[in-house]
């Protein structure tokens, strides 16, 4: 009996267990489903605070691009970058802040109290620069010391191996290795390259785990900039200019040497007797500061007037015999010496202001103004040097008879030295105005806004005639003191009064003396301009005297350097 009860109870228990088992398993399956939903929710719809925490632990490191070199026309390095190290400490990571100064001082050979002072000075709390640039020995010592919280930060260091040579043209870089002045500034984008970037996953202790191919952007090094400047020519120009500035106790001077075939600027020097600051930061007055050209402007007016038929080279111009010429509007125009009526050709050889004014009066104001602008005056050359100005040309609306006469002998107009050499090159190129540039080599055109400005400004025959007459200037005219023993030059001097800085007229006894010449006469290679600012009048002030010899010496040495065969020596009187 009890056996039967037991069996039945057992069966009942078994079926109860079975029922509960189904219920409990069902419950657990529901729980598993809940977990699936929860995971899906976390993955697909995380709440706002979780989403913020989901950003993967990624660090990004910049890969510096090496700044390109600046080299001269023949590849001599003018500016280059190397890797240096800056020493800094993170005071929060330093093991013992009391002894760190002593430990560091021992490594880099500095005074401990100086280091302590820098740490205490504060500023950035976790980045205290102890030394901006360490030498190799110091770097090795710091690495060996292995001090905690002390870091070496790689940084680029710019070197200028030619020191002060061509300093204004090259310029310099500033903080963060960006161009501040000169070519460093003008071609900064090309030189700088593009910084690379590496983003990598890090573990909880900031060690690199891995990075995806897309997370690495290699740095593109900056490109080399090859200037047209030739260091040898630059040295020649600087040497002779410095000598002349010293000799005439001038305020300063400028020399531009232009390869008149290619339009390449071979040398660009700017000397100040009392420089206001470092030359590298100074503006390049050869393109920024216009000067009054004086008689050096006459060949351009002469060429245009002749071409327009306002005077024939052989025509006798009624220049005054012994006193100033009085213009129809009542202005008195003087010459340095009076020769009486001379041919139009001789007006240029003898540089007669009166003759120029007489013929200028035959031209319309428009013709005169266009004669100026067609040679590129009043417009920037876009040679690639930063800060270039356009010079000063009186606007057509204010152009008067007075202006007409003044401009004919190079007054009431201001040009930059680079504008002048370019315009003068037209006589060396059969009337073709060249494009001048400071950057040479392949690829230069890609990044440099070079203005394709080649055009015929006067006929070849006129240009050749002017050149021939300018060669006479070297023998019979104001260029006598600048005659070369080796090459036949064609040139023109200019002497203009120095304008007062307040705009109120001119100084009576202060001048800008200039001389411009090209050589060799029959196959010109270079055009050289020298401008001497404010020479001591007691020592000389005529352009032919003061600036002429500089031009001659620069031409002689430059052509020799360029292996140009000398012309037959000419008699010098």
């Amino acid at each position: 009996m009890s056996r039967i009860i037991l069996d039945e109870t057992r069966r009942a228990q078994a079926s109860r267990v079975s029922a509960w088992s189904r219920l409990l398993v069902l419950g657990m399956l529901a729980g598993l489903l809940l977990i699936l939903v929860r995971v899906a929710q976390l993955k697909l719809r995380p709440d706002a605070s979780l989403r913020a925490a989901l950003t993967p632990p990624i660090s990004t490191r910049a890969e510096p691009a090496r700044r390109g070199d600046i080299v001269d026309a023949r590849g001599r390095v003018l500016a280059t970058s190397t890797l240096g190290y800056r020493l800094f400490i993170d005071p929060t990571q330093v093991q013992d802040i009391r002894t760190i100064a002593v430990d560091l001082a021992a490594a880099i050979g500095a005074a401990p109290d100086e280091i302590d002072r820098k740490i205490l000075a504060g500023g950035a709390p976790r980045y205290v620069v102890i030394d901006d640039l360490l030498d190799d020995r110091q770097v090795a010592a710091v690495r060996t010391a292995g001090l905690r919280g002390v870091g070496l930060q790689p940084r680029q260091v710019r070197h200028y191996p030619q020191h002060e040579r061509a300093a204004r043209v090259v310029g310099m870089v500033g903080f963060e290795h960006t161009g501040l002045s000169g070519s460093e500034h003008a071609f900064d984008r090309m030189l700088a390259g593009r910084q690379g970037r590496l983003s990598y996953l890090r573990d909880v202790r900031h060690r690199t785990l891995w990075f995806e191919p897309d997370d690495y952007e290699p740095a593109t090094d900056g490109r080399e900039v090859r200037l047209t400047i030739d260091l040898v020519v630059q040295e020649i120009a600087e040497r002779h200019l410095r000598r002349a500035v010293d000799e005439y106790e001038a305020g300063g001077g400028r020399v531009v040497v232009l390869d008149c075939i290619s339009g390449a600027i071979l040398a660009l020097t700017d000397v100040l007797a009392e420089p206001a600051g470092p030359a590298r930061l100074a503006r390049n007055r050869c393109v920024t500061d216009p000067y009054e050209p004086g008689s050096t402007l006459k060949p351009f007016i002469w060429a245009v007037a002749t071409e327009l038929g306002r005077a024939h080279p052989a025509e006798i111009i009624p220049c005054p015999v012994d006193r100033p010429y009085r213009t129809p509007y009542g202005r008195s125009i003087r010459d340095s010496h009076y020769l009486g009526p001379v041919s139009w050709r001789n007006v240029l050889v003898q540089s007669l202001n009166t003759g120029m004014a007489i013929v200028a009066a035959r031209m319309t104001h428009d013709e005169m103004r266009q004669a100026i602008t067609r040679f590129g005056f009043g417009r920037r050359t876009r040679c690639g040097i930063p800060g270039e100005t356009a010079g000063l040309v009186t606007p057509a609306s204010r152009w008067s008879d007075y202006t007409q006469s003044s401009v004919s002998f190079g007054h009431e107009i201001a040009v930059t030295p680079v504008q002048m050499v370019r315009a003068f090159s037209a006589f060396a190129r059969h009337g073709m105005l060249p494009t001048v540039h400071i950057v040479a080599g392949p690829g230069a055109g890609a990044n440099v806004p070079r203005f394709r400005f080649v055009r015929q400004v006067c006929s070849a025959s006129t240009a050749d005639l002017v050149r021939e007459i300018l060669a006479e200037v070297m023998i019979e005219g104001t260029g006598r003191h600048a005659q070369s023993q080796r090459y036949r030059l064609f040139g023109k001097s200019g002497t203009a009064q120095l304008p007062r800085p307040d705009g109120g007229g001119y100084f009576e006894d202060r001048y800008v003396s200039s001389f411009i010449a090209g050589a060799p006469l029959h196959e010109p290679r270079v055009v050289v301009l020298c401008v001497i600012d404010d020479p001591d009048r007691s020592r000389g002030h005529w352009g032919g005297r003061v600036a002429g010899p500089v031009v001659r010496d620069v031409i002689d040495e430059t052509l020799a350097y360029l292996a140009v065969i000398p012309d037959h020596p000419l008699p010098v009187d």
Binding site: R10, Q13, R16, V17, S21, A53
Partner: protein, 370 residues
């Protein structure tokens, strides 16, 4: 034909394989001196333990459950209870007990070490199943059917709870379910509310970190770098990798961000590396284990077998659920492993042993002629 028992063995092997792979993946380090090769994994500690677990499972599947019942009835049970209690007390002895992560859960046995709480967890099922089957006629009584067995359960749970509250709660929950399924009235469980609440209060208040875990569960973002860190990192890891996952071995959070990534929080790494598909696969494997187990115990006639099977299923199922709920931030953090996947020797072997007993019950109901 493939029987549910065979399916259970295959499922166990699959879960252990996932365990071996994921424990090795989660255990990868940066800049290890030796690169990890396939041979290292196959001959490594985890693979050997998995093989051992499978061997134990196979051996357990040869055990006759009827014989086990007879042995229990013949006086084995008191010895089991005694052994269980001794082991639980022994972890507190200086030489034998070993402290890991601030809790004395481990016991040294020569070169081997294991967790007595793991042994107790499974022994308790055997004891209760035997008790309920043996005293089937009195299971409806309050005293003999519920209070007496619960006194033992309470003692064992209290001993476990001193070091491992999660396991104690699991053992308690499984025990109550077993007793109710075996015939105890559901209303009796209300009597447990008082003692359980008191026990929980003591356990939480005696260890400040348990209170922190509760606070972190309520609002982890109030202290994301402090008490909330673990919960947040766990949820971030689960959410990381999106639906597709980062790919096997490519977890980022295992590199120091997520603590206990190879053990209690391995489910998060699975989610990060294998994505939603990996999670679905693991969850389905556990679901399949439950269904296979259910179909086996439904065919067992003897209540002892059914109760034992239910206890095994409940232990594995609830443990997996609690673990995955902890990892996904659904319940407060507890130190409880994911069965057959989280790194751990005792857990793997004991779980495999339990499942092996389930397989053992999967015998043809029709007896072969003698």
């Amino acid at each position: 034909m493939l029987r549910p028992g065979h399916g259970l063995m295959l499922l166990t092997a699959a879960l252990l394989s996932v365990g071996v792979i994921m424990v090795n993946s989660a255990g990868l380090t940066v800049g290890a001196a030796e690169p990890v090769s396939l041979t290292d994994i196959l001959l490594g500690r985890t693979a050997i333990l998995a093989a051992l677990a499978l061997a134990v499972m196979f051996l357990a599947s040869r055990v006759s459950v009827e014989r086990l019942y007879r042995a229990a009835s013949a006086g084995l049970v008191p010895w089991i209870i005694l052994g269980m209690l001794l082991l639980l007390l022994a972890v507190h002895l200086p030489v034998i007990g070993r402290e890991v992560n601030g809790a004395r859960r481990w016991m040294n046995l020569g070169p081997l070490s294991f967790q007595p709480s793991e042994v107790a967890k499974w022994s308790m099922i055997v004891v209760l199943a035997w008790y309920a089957a043996r005293h089937v006629l009195v299971m409806g009584e309050l005293n003999r059917g519920f209070v007496r067995p619960m006194l033992l359960v309470g003692l064992v749970c209290a001993l476990i709870a001193t070091e491992d509250l999660g396991t104690a709660m699991l053992v308690g929950a499984v025990s109550v379910c077993l007793l109710v399924a075996a015939g105890a009235r559901l209303g009796y469980t209300a009597l447990l509310a008082g003692p359980a609440a008191a026990g929980l209060a003591v356990a939480v208040l005696s260890n400040p970190y348990r209170l922190d875990r509760l606070r972190a569960f309520v609002d982890p973002w109030q202290d994301p770098q402090g008490i909330g860190y673990h919960v947040i990192q766990s949820m971030v890891t689960v959410a990381g990798g999106g639906v597709a996952g980062r790919g096997l071995g490519n977890s980022v959070r295992k590199f120091g961000y997520l603590p206990q990534d190879t053990s209690d929080f391995i489910f998060a790494i699975i989610s990060e590396e294998l994505g939603l598909m990996g999670v679905i696969a693991v969850v389905c494997l556990f679901g399949a284990v439950l269904l296979c187990g259910l179909s086996i115990l439904e065919r067992v006639e003897h209540p002892f077998g059914r109760l034992l099977g239910l206890g095994i299923l409940l232990t594995i199922g609830l443990q997996a659920l609690i673990n995955m709920m902890v990892v996904t931030g659904l319940v407060p953090t507890k130190g409880i492993a994911l069965p057959l996947i989280s790194a751990g020797g005792t857990g793997w072997v004991m779980t495999a042993l339990g499942l092996g007993l389930l397989v053992a019950m999967d015998r043809p109901t029709v007896r072969e002629p003698a």
